[in-house]
C-alpha cells in the first residue's frame, strides 16, 4: 500500500483529504513545512500532497525544493495545492518539480485521479 503525506496547516482540509483517500493508502499528516519535511525524511512517503501557503519559515514551495534537493527524497511525487490561483505560481511549482498543481477548492475526483496517475 502506497504511503501519502498530507502537509497542510488546515486540519479540516487534511481530514477531508484523508477521508477521500479512504483505506487505499497509508496516510500521514503534518501541519507545517518543517514537520512535513521531517516526517518525509523519516517515513519516505510515495507521494506528498503539499499546501503552498503555510505559515512559518518553510512554505510549500520551500518543502518542494528541499524534497527535490534531497537525494533520498527526490523520487517522491509531489502534488501542490494552493489557494493562490495565478498562472505564474502554477508554472513555478511545475518547474520546481511538482507532479500536479491544484487550486483550492480542488475537485476531489481530480485530486484522486492525479494521485493515482502520479503513483503509476
Amino acid at each position: 500500500m502506497k504511503r501519502i503525506l498530507l502537509v497542510d496547516d488546515h486540519s479540516d482540509i487534511r481530514r477531508l483529504i484523508r477521508i477521500t483517500l479512504g483505506k487505499d493508502f497509508d496516510v500521514l499528516e503534518a501541519e507545517d513545512g518543517p514537520s512535513g519535511l521531517e516526517i518525509a525524511r523519516r517515513q519516505r512517503p510515495d507521494l506528498v500532497v503539499l499546501d503552498v501557503m503555510m505559515p512559518g519559515d518553510l512554505d510549500g514551495l520551500g518543502v518542494l525544493d528541499a524534497i527535490k534537493a534531497d537525494r533520498s527524497l527526490v523520487q517522491t511525487r509531489v502534488i501542490m495545492v494552493t489557494a493562490r490561483g495565478q498562472a505564474a505560481d502554477y508554472e513555478d511549482g511545475m518547474k520546481r518539480g511538482a507532479d500536479a498543481y491544484f487550486i483550492k477548492p480542488f475537485s476531489p475526483l481530480q485530486l484522486v485521479a492525479a494521485i493515482k496517475n502520479a503513483l503509476e
Binding site: H10, I13, V52, P55, D59, K104, P105, F106, S107, P108
Partner: protein, 481 residues
C-alpha cells in the same frame, strides 16, 4: 493566536478563523459538486451495467443454443488446435470413435491415405487465409463403426481467431456416404433402364407416363417425347375385351403385379403380340408411387418360331419340303382325295449316276446338282403339285388329280427330259438322269405309306431297266421308256 488578523514577516500566514471556515465550506461545496457528478455517473454506469448484463445473458443463451445445436447436429463437428490435434468433438463424432479417447489425436488419423493431401490442403488454406468455411472438399474417412466401413464426408473448416491469432480449427464433416451409394445405385438403374432390350414404361399413380426407355421406342415406335404425359392406352389395339381391363386392374390393386400376353398397337398401326409384366412401386409408407411396365415384343419370338418351324419342315439346300412336311402333305392329299373322291398320283424320283458326281467332283458339286434338279422338277409340275426331297438324291412328287397311264407317262417323260439336260456346276459339265416310280390313289393303295412303298417299288423296276425311265406300279410289271 489562531485568530491573528495580520500576516507575519510578509510570508504566507495562517488564515484567520473565519477565513478558514470559508475555505472549508468552499471545499465542502466542491465535494458536494463532485459527489453529484459521481451520482450521475453512477446512475449511468448502473444503466450501462444492466444493459451489459442483459447482453451477456443473451450472448450466454445464444451460446447455449449453439452448443445444443452442435450437440444435436448429425453433422460431425470437431475442434482442433492449429496443428490438427483434436480438442473437442460433438456427439455425432462418436461415429468416428469414442470421443474421450479422441482428444489429443490428430484428425488426420481418420483420413484415408488417398485423401490426406486434400485434407492438409484445406487445413493449411484455412490456417493461413480464410476464416470463412467457404472451401470444402470430399474426404473418405475410416469410421469407428463395426467393421470400420468407409465414411464419405464433405468437409469444411473454419479458423477461429482471437486478436488476429489462430486459436482453433473448427471442422464440419457432413456424412454423404448414403448419398454416394444411392447415386451409384441410381446410375446403375439408369444404365439398366437405358440398355434393356425390353421396353420399360414408368407411370405415376394415375397411370400417366413419366418415362420410357429406348427399347420402348424401338418396339412401339413412339419416342419418349411422344409418350411422356400420355396414358399407355395409346398402345391399345382394341383387341382386349372390356373384362380384361377389369381383371387387370383388380390383380394390380390387390396383388401388386400382373403379367400376361396381350396385343398392342405400334405407332405405325401394326398390331403385335406382347408379353406384359406390370409391377407396383410403393414408398416407405406403403403408398403407391408408380407402376413399372415391362414389354417384350413377342412378334420377333413368333417369327423365330416360324423360322424354326420352317427349318424343321423344309430342306435347307433345295428349299423343298422335307420328309416331315411331305408326310403332312401326303396325309392331307389322302384326306382330300377321300373327301372329294378324286385320285392323285405319287411319283418317286431317284437320280441316276448321282453318286459318281459326289465322289469325283465333291459334295459341293453334288449339292449344286441337287439344287438344279429341284428347280427343274418344280418347273415341270403344276402349282397344286408338291415336290419334296426325301433325302440324299431321292425326291417325291404329289400330283392331285393326276391319274391315267397316258397323263402320268407324259409328266414323267417331261420331267425325265428336264433332268437329263446338261448341268453346268462350277464350270463342270455334268449330267444326271432320273428313274421315276409311280403309284395312284386309290388304285394302288389308300394308305399314304403304302402308296409310297409301291411307288418306290415301281421306281426300282425303272432303275433296273437302266434309268432314265418311268414305271407304273401294277400287278404286272409295266415298263416304258
Amino acid at each position: 493566536m489562531e485568530d491573528s488578523p495580520l500576516p507575519m514577516h510578509g510570508q504566507s500566514a495562517r488564515l484567520p478563523g473565519s477565513a478558514r471556515s470559508v475555505a472549508l465550506h468552499d471545499q465542502l461545496y466542491r465535494y458536494a459538486e463532485d459527489l453529484q457528478q459521481m451520482i450521475e455517473r453512477n446512475g449511468k454506469l448502473e444503466a450501462h451495467y444492466e444493459a451489459l448484463r442483459e447482453t451477456c445473458n443473451q450472448l450466454s443463451e445464444g451460446r447455449d443454443e449453439l452448443d445444443r445445436l452442435l450437440h444435436a447436429s448429425r453433422d460431425i463437428h470437431v475442434v482442433t488446435d492449429p496443428s490438427g490435434a483434436i480438442v473437442q468433438a460433438n456427439p455425432a463424432a462418436e461415429r468416428l470413435g469414442p470421443r474421450d479417447s479422441m482428444v489429443g489425436l490428430k484428425l488426420e488419423a481418420w483420413v484415408q491415405s488417398a485423401y490426406i493431401a486434400a485434407f492438409l490442403a484445406l487445413q493449411q488454406g484455412t490456417a493461413t487465409n480464410g476464416t470463412l468455411g467457404d472451401r470444402e472438399c470430399e474426404l473418405h474417412l475410416t469410421s469407428g463403426l463395426p467393421g470400420n466401413p468407409t465414411m464419405i464426408v464433405i468437409a469444411s473448416v473454419i479458423g477461429v481467431r482471437r486478436d488476429g491469432e489462430l486459436h482453433f480449427l473448427h471442422w464440419i464433416l457432413r456424412d454423404v456416404t448414403h448419398v454416394r451409394e444411392s447415386e451409384f445405385e441410381t446410375r446403375l438403374s439408369s444404365m439398366v433402364f437405358r440398355s434393356s432390350a425390353e421396353g420399360i414404361i414408368i407411370t405415376d399413380v394415375e397411370g400417366e407416363i413419366l418415362a420410357v426407355n429406348p427399347a420402348f421406342t424401338r418396339i412401339t415406335g413412339y419416342t419418349a417425347a411422344e409418350a411422356i404425359g400420355k396414358n399407355p392406352r395409346i398402345l391399345s389395339s382394341g383387341m382386349q375385351p372390356p373384362s380384361f381391363y377389369a381383371e387387370f386392374w383388380r390383380a394390380l390393386r390387390e396383388e401388386g403385379v400382373w403379367q400376361g400376353e396381350i396385343f398392342n398397337r405400334r405407332k405405325s398401326g401394326e398390331v403385335y403380340p406382347e408379353w406384359l409384366n406390370v409391377t407396383t412401386v410403393r414408398d416407405n409408407e406403403g403408398q403407391i408411387l408408380s407402376y413399372i411396365a415391362i414389354l417384350s415384343d413377342l412378334s420377333r419370338l413368333l417369327a423365330a418360331e416360324k423360322q424354326l418351324a420352317y427349318l424343321a419342315h423344309y430342306d435347307s439346300l433345295t428349299k423343298l419340303p422335307n420328309r416331315h412336311l411331305f408326310g403332312d402333305r401326303l396325309d392331307r392329299a389322302v384326306a382330300q382325295a377321300r373327301r372329294t373322291q378324286q385320285k392323285f398320283s405319287l411319283l418317286f424320283v431317284d437320280l441316276d449316276r448321282f453318286k459318281p458326281i459326289n465322289d469325283r467332283f465333291g459334295h459341293l458339286a453334288g449339292d449344286g446338282v441337287l439344287k438344279e434338279v429341284a428347280t427343274r422338277l418344280q418347273g415341270g409340275v403344276r402349282e397344286s403339285d408338291t415336290v419334296a426331297r426325301l433325302g440324299g438324291d431321292e425326291f417325291v412328287i404329289i400330283a392331285p388329280g393326276l391319274c391315267g397311264e397316258a397323263e402320268i407317262g407324259r409328266l414323267c417323260a417331261k420331267l425325265i427330259d428336264a433332268i437329263s439336260r446338261p448341268l453346268s456346276i462350277d464350270s463342270h459339265e455334268l449330267s444326271v438322269g432320273g428313274s421315276f416310280g409311280c403309284a395312284v390313289y386309290p388304285d394302288h393303295g389308300t394308305d399314304g405309306l403304302d402308296l409310297l412303298k409301291r411307288a418306290d417299288e415301281a421306281m426300282y423296276r425303272a432303275k433296273h431297266v437302266g434309268g432314265g425311265s418311268y414305271a407304273l406300279f401294277g400287278p404286272l410289271p409295266r415298263l416304258a421308256t
